[in-house]
């Protein structure tokens, strides 16, 4: 705002001072008012200098002329009449008083303006003092204001300097002219008094020129000093932005808008370039006139260098990575890239100054200075690595180099030595290898040429999705702790994380994935789990403790990430609405529930199962202390078919009298169950008879049977008839199912292990096939699906022992249970006869328990052989039970499964088996996860097809190797593919050795193979978990009261198995 306007808006006390100032002044206030803008624009101080008389005179006369113009433009109103009179009088008075001494007038005006400014400052300070108690704006915005104020000041000072410079030019021109005209050292006129006078005048002119030069220089020194401060402030802001960006990458909150920074950087850059121009012009002046002890000679080079240093620094810091490398679909987790998949990154130059005619090229390099780490993988950027810096058509867009659709490929020659951590050749595993992309830009503007560069945050390159989780752990750890953003060797000796910092970052993970962070109690539980005690401010967590396997068989992070995955996929809403207590230790859980009434339950995440959620409830028996029951944790594979609220709603407990009841009554602390979960129950379809009257109404529920003296209750899947009178099968809820979750690996967590057996040998791959029908969404609801399930169940019952010992107690003693399912299988046939006895229902309950097992079996070594056995019977049953005409729309699918099963039975050629799995794939069309199980499906399949020999296959196939590697610690299990070969040889040895042994016998052998694996290959607990007792669907340590009995297989009808099948 103009000074005069500001003065007018002062408080009364200060206005009084202004009036006093003008009361005795030779310059009337009317003139000041009339020519306010012009007066403020002139450099009166300069004009007042004794030796610049011309300047003062010029200003004085300009003022009189302007005043005259002003008079002329005034109208003839009464008000204006008086004003006219006053102005005319002022004009006369001024002329009379200052005609002879315009410097005096200049001095007068300069002092008046200065005094005004002083009063203004006082007034504004006073105003601030008065309003001090009023809340000052946030410090952040205060900072912004400060920068903006300083920028404005800088520009004013720059304009001032330019004015001084122009004055200097005038003085120099005047001197130059006089010098050329009057200075005649050649003709000896040293006695001529006129000449001496001229020389004296010339000397005076030179003096004033020298003075002006020094003045301009002092001004520039001052300007540079101020811009240094300004730049310091901007650097601080930029540092803050970098931190915010890093935090945002980790899922933390923060605003990463670059717009204000861009504006400020550009303005300062503009100013500095202007100053640079001024300095250049100053040097030109020096070229024209110089003299002894010319200050320009001495000082401009230094000034220019200082300015150059500042400009360089400004530009270098202004080149920033606006968007860190990220793949498009993993937006929440940037900085993890996968080979062969596309990613993008963007850099921006915050100083938006460029020459339109000059195209600046930006380039990217990956790992320009690779760290000296053995086995460090080298990558090439496949797409073009250079790009012209886009200026954008609108000035808003700024100077951006946007690299999209980039892909990385590992360099071939490095493969020989890569080892990839599987054999410990390199000190870093793949997910701890940090890579950098450097952007370089050849900047050129106004004759300034600079090579700018900026570097992304370190990122991790994976080759398979199952490495994603641990890669993300590395990113978290790095960004949380590293002070040097280029420290690629960070994981050579990763520092421990202070607990408070880690807690904050973990909180962000939940915040960003599930939209609700961790409560204080949650964090306390996590801290105790990690640290073993209550956390203090100084507690630290080491990297191995966080990311490497713990006693539970998987790392803390894998566990937590499993929960994150579960939350994101299935429980987001419940978590958001705080229905899941989540992280509660058993001890704490008891403490919480003890005082609550029977049937109070809480939801918490399993500590022993990856990505599992469970509920615990309390019961107060008539005598004795309260008991706590917890159900076997649900994982994504179950929740995919049945939402947790529905499970809670339908949960049944078999009491002694076999009357099922739901023990879950109140959600902790005391919310009635239905009140808490009511809004989340899925809609029960009101049956329209016409549509599906052919079928019984049916829905999936889960029940547990109580077993004395055990913590967790067992549970089986029940196909319950919802309405016994109607007995209609109802394909309820299947539509909501997520495709393909069940037996198929979830890329990140517990699914991974299932891939392992799939790669170990073909039979396992096959083993997934029987499970397939359950996975396909369409199958579940159809009678055919039921039939197949029953078929499986039937078989399962016989081989249950090895597979799922806990089911044993119920099933084994009752071989006749095999019968009723057949009845149930027939149910769809006989719609009218609804008399399925409760007992029969009971038996039905048992069977799908086998189903649950089967689902897991796909991924489990121990169970897999049994399933082969299963398969044999399965087909029989299927063929017996399913009548194609009844399921016309499924025709295509089912025979496929059959075909495949026949493959199993009849020809056991591996290749054909795998061809069969193509059918599986068809079966599973639409389920993406399945395809991922098969490692982008094509890879494995083709590989398997291509090579008859499994051994060769494993040796040669890089992808399988990568697959193995990704799964937590399978690397250690399979240090080299050679070991796999050995394993397979061992397997092979078993095959021929036993001649035409049945699958059963081989199944018995398998566990021992696993054992030997454990011994010989240092099977880590993590992988053991995947193969062995840590499997989510196998008994947990807590409830492993029942031993795993493998000898049950002896009852099983032997299968014909040829040794050559495994060739």
């Amino acid at each position: 705002m103009a000074q005069w306007q500001e003065v007018q808006s002062l408080a009364n006390t200060y206005l009084e001072q202004v009036h006093q100032l003008y009361a005795g002044s030779a310059l009337p206030m009317a003139v000041r008012q009339c020519l306010a803008a012009w007066i403020e624009d002139q450099n009166w101080r300069q004009a007042a200098e004794p030796l610049s008389s011309g300047h003062a005179r010029m200003l004085f006369h300009s003022l009189l002329v302007l005043l005259g113009e002003c008079l002329g433009s005034l109208g003839s109103g009464h008000e204006e009449f008086m004003l006219k009179h006053n102005l005319r009088k002022a004009q006369r008075d001024l002329q009379a008083e200052f005609e002879k001494k315009p410097e005096g007038f200049a001095n007068l005006v300069a002092n008046l303006l200065q005094e005004e400014r002083r009063i203004l400052r006082l007034g504004q300070a006073g105003g601030q003092g008065g309003s001090a108690p009023a809340p000052s704006p946030a410090p952040e915005s205060g900072r912004e204001q400060q920068i903006q104020r300083r920028l404005a000041e800088f520009h004013t000072a720059l304009q001032e300097a330019e004015r001084s410079f122009r004055h200097l030019e005038d003085l120099q021109d005047a001197f130059d002219f006089c010098y050329k005209v009057h200075y005649r050292p050649a003709d000896n006129r040293s006695n001529d008094p006129g000449y001496i006078q001229e020389l004296q005048a010339l000397q005076a002119k030179l003096q004033s020129l020298d003075r002006q030069r020094r003045e301009v220089l002092a001004q520039m020194q001052q300007l540079l000093g101020r811009s240094e401060t300004l730049q310091e402030l901007l650097q601080e802001e930029l540092g803050g932005w970098r931190l915010r960006q890093q935090r945002l990458c980790l899922g933390g909150p923060g605003d990463t808008n670059l717009r204000p920074l861009e504006t400020w950087f550009t303005e300062l850059g503009q100013g500095l370039f202007q100053l640079r121009q001024l300095l250049r012009a100053l040097q030109d002046l020096r070229q024209k006139v110089t003299y002894e002890r010319d200050p320009l000679v001495a000082e401009t080079p230094l000034l220019e260098q200082r300015l150059q240093e500042q400009l360089t620094h400004l530009l270098k810091s202004a080149f920033v990575v606006e968007q860190q490398p990220s793949t498009p679909n993993a937006s929440r987790r940037p900085l993890v890239l996968r080979t062969a998949s596309k990613f993008s990154a963007r850099a921006r130059l915050l100083v938006r100054l460029h020459d339109r005619n000059h195209h600046m090229e930006a380039r990217i390099h990956i790992d320009r200075d690779p760290p000296n780490i053995k086995g460090f993988r080298k990558f090439n950027i496949l797409t073009s690595s250079s790009k012209t810096l886009l200026a954008g058509d609108s000035p808003q867009e700024g100077l951006v180099c946007d690299f999209q659709y980039l892909t990385l490929k590992e360099q071939k020659e490095s493969r020989a030595g890569k080892g990839k951590g599987s054999s410990g050749e390199g000190p870093l595993v793949v997910t701890e290898e940090l890579h950098l992309i450097t952007f370089t830009l050849a900047y050129a503007y106004c004759g300034l040429e600079l090579e700018l560069e900026t570097t992304t945050l370190p990122f991790v390159i994976i080759s398979n999705n199952n490495q994603f989780s641990s890669a993300w752990a590395s990113i978290l750890w790095f960004n949380m702790l590293s002070s040097d953003p280029k420290a690629q060797q960070f994981f050579s000796s990763p520092p421990p994380a202070p607990w408070p910092r880690l807690a904050e970052v973990l909180n962000w993970q939940f915040q960003s994935v599930a939209e609700r962070g961790l409560s204080r109690d949650n964090l306390l539980m996590l801290a105790e789990k990690l640290l073993g005690s209550k956390p203090s401010q100084d507690s630290t967590v080491t990297w191995p403790k966080f990311s490497k396997d713990g006693p539970a068989g998987f790392s803390f992070w894998a566990w937590l990430d499993g929960i994150l995955g579960l939350l994101q996929e299935h429980l987001k809403q419940l978590w958001k609405d705080e229905l899941i207590l989540g992280f509660v230790s058993r001890k704490q859980e008891k403490k919480l529930l003890k005082s609550k009434c029977t049937g109070t339950f809480l939801l918490r995440f399993s500590e022993s199962v990856l990505g599992g959620v469970t509920f615990t409830w309390v019961e107060h028996p008539e005598k004795g202390s309260p008991t706590f029951q917890a159900v076997d944790p649900y994982t994504a594979s179950e929740l995919v078919s049945l939402a947790l609220p529905d499970i809670i709603h339908d949960y049944q407990m078999m009491v002694e009298e076999n009357i099922p009841e739901n023990p879950l009554k109140y959600l902790y602390p005391s919310t009635p169950r239905d009140e808490a979960f009511g809004p989340y129950y899925s809609q029960r379809q009101k049956e329209t008879l016409s549509d599906s009257q052919k079928y019984l109404n049916r829905r999936l529920i889960r029940v547990s049977s109580r077993q004395p003296g055990k913590w967790q209750t067992e549970e089986e899947l029940v196909v319950a008839t919802e309405n016994l009178e109607m007995l209609q099968l109802q394909p309820r809820g299947q539509g909501t199912q997520q495709a393909g979750g069940l037996a198929l690996p979830q890329p990140q967590t517990s699914g991974t292990p299932q891939v392992t057996p799939g790669c170990l040998g073909t039979p396992q791959g096959v083993a997934t096939s029987p499970g397939v029908p359950q996975v396909t969404p369409e199958c579940l609801g159809t009678p055919q699906g039921v039939a197949s399930r029953l078929g499986i169940a039937q078989v399962t019952a016989t081989c249950l022992g090895t597979l799922q010992p806990r089911g044993l107690g119920m099933l084994q003693p009752q071989p006749q249970n095999l019968e009723p399912p057949r009845v149930a299988a027939g149910v769809p046939d006989i719609q009218g006869t609804l008399h399925v006895a409760p007992g029969a229902v009971g038996t039905v309950q048992v069977l799908p328990g086998g189903l649950g097992m089967l689902q897991v079996g796909a991924g489990d070594l121990g169970t897999l052989q049994g399933q082969q056995g299963t398969v044999a019977v399965y087909t029989e049953t299927l063929q017996g039970a399913v009548e194609p005409p009844r399921v016309p729309e499924e025709k295509g699918t089912l025979p496929a499964a059959l075909r495949e099963l026949e493959l199993l039975q009849g020809s056991r050629d591996v290749q054909e088996l795998l061809q069969g799995s193509r059918d599986v794939q068809e079966l599973l069309q639409g389920s993406r996860d399945v395809q991922e199980l098969l490692q982008g499906s094509q890879d494995v399949q083709e590989l398997l097809q291509g090579s008859r020999d499994v051994q060769e296959l494993l040796q040669g196939s890089q992808d399988v190797q990568e697959l193995l590697q990704g799964s937590q610690d399978v690397q250690e299990l399979l240090p080299e593919s050679q070991d796999v070969q050995e394993l397979l040889q061992a397997l092979e040895g078993l095959g021929p050795g036993s001649g035409s042994l049945g699958a059963l016998e081989e199944a018995e052998l398998m566990p021992s193979v696993v054992e030997s694996l454990e011994e010989s290959f240092q099977l880590s607990p993590g992988s053991a978990a995947l193969l062995d007792h840590h499997d989510p669907f196998l008994p947990q340590p807590e409830d492993s009261a029942l031993p795993a009995v493998s000898s049950l297989f002896t009852d099983f009808p032997p299968l014909q198995l040829d040794a050559s099948d495994f060739q």
């Binding site: 101080r45 007042a48 200098e49 001095n107 300069a110 002092n111 200065q114 002083r118 400060q146 000072a157 003075r211 020094r214 003045e215 220089l217 002092a218 001004q219 020194q221 001052q222 540079l224 000093g225 101020r226 240094e228 401060t229 310091e232 402030l233 002890r293 200050p295 001495a298 000082e299 230094l302 260098q305 200082r306 240093e309 500042q310 620094h313």
Partner: protein
């Protein structure tokens, strides 16, 4: 009063900065105003008198800056030549000594000394016997190293001060002759602070001599506080003063003389906090502007911007309980 600049009359940026520091110090001007006017013959060469004249000119004139020409000529007579770049620390000593020498009244000389001199006791203790030499000395500035013995950067001004008062062992070539032992023995040299003046001058030794004659400027960051409390910096045995003296060892930053450019060639300016208004000003020869603490902080230095303004002399003023 509005701050007034001083024109550069020939590489006088260093002189101008120091003059401003003197003039803005009301304790100093109080002394200066009481000098006796010398006889006309001596006026031209009397430094205190010329300084007073200049001060008067600055205060009465309505100009934004004045010419220190007469003073510059006067100094030239005392072998402080024009058109020569001076080291600010050196020029400060020269100027001060000239002032002290030419002030005729002994009470003024005493006041001037009291205002600026630091009293230190140096101890030299033989490590062999317990022979100890004590030596009282006075200093105008504390010359603080910015690097330690191993050429590591000292982090803050407080560290520099601590390092300065750290006892040093004199061994090997540096051994001293001990009267008692009758031979050269290793000595322990230590400094103890006895008394601190009203205006405390600290000199950051940013110019270091690397091999041969080449002088290097150390531009790394060295933060200095606005408030300095020696009781927190020094340990008990680094002081030799009674409690009332020590209680007064609390200081507030008053001025910074900053240097920009190279060691061989550069520019000086002064950041001074007006004692009456409590505002910071930057004096850049004829150009004066009001600044904030952020600007002063900018003179901490920065390694990668070596040409930028870096603090060279720091002036602290004793705090007085109000």
């Amino acid at each position: 009063t509005e701050a007034v600049g001083l024109y550069n009359v020939g590489e006088t940026c260093c002189l101008n900065s120091l003059l401003q520091v003197f003039f803005m110090n009301i304790h100093f001007t109080r002394i200066l105003r009481r000098i006796t006017v010398p006889s006309p013959a001596w006026r031209r060469s009397n430094v205190p008198y010329q300084m007073l004249l200049l001060l008067e000119k600055m205060q009465c004139g309505k100009c934004k800056a004045v010419w220190p020409t007469e003073l510059a000529y006067c100094l030239a007579e005392h072998r402080v030549k024009l058109f020569v770049q001076y080291d600010a620390a050196q020029l400060f000593l020269t100027l001060w000594n000239l002032l002290k020498k030419q002030m005729k009244k002994p009470e003024l000389v005493e006041e001037l000394s009291d205002l600026y001199t630091i009293h230190i006791r140096e101890h030299l203790a033989c490590q062999n016997c317990s022979f100890e030499i004590k030596n009282n000395s006075t200093m105008l500035t504390l010359p603080l190293p910015v690097l330690d013995a191993n050429s590591h950067r000292l982090k803050t001004l407080e560290h520099c001060l601590q390092y300065f008062f750290l006892p040093e062992e004199l061994t090997g070539q540096n051994m001293c002759f001990c009267q008692q032992c009758g031979r050269e023995t290793p000595f322990l040299q230590s400094r103890k602070l006895v008394q601190l003046p009203e205006t405390l001058t600290l000199h950051l030794k940013r110019f270091c001599f690397e091999r041969s004659s080449y002088t290097l400027k150390l531009s790394h960051s060295l933060p200095f506080p606005q408030e300095l409390d020696f009781r927190e910096i020094l340990t008990e045995n680094q002081c030799q003063a009674d409690d009332s003296e020590k209680a007064s060892w609390q200081y507030e930053l008053f001025a910074v003389v900053a240097h920009s450019g190279y060691s061989s060639w550069g520019h000086y300016c002064a950041y001074i906090r007006s004692l009456t208004e409590c505002r910071w000003y930057c004096f850049n020869d004829s150009h004066v502007c009001q600044v904030s603490w952020d600007d002063v902080k900018c003179t901490y230095g920065r390694s990668n911007l070596s040409l930028r303004e870096t603090a060279y002399l720091l002036f602290y003023m004793k705090k007085h309980p109000q």
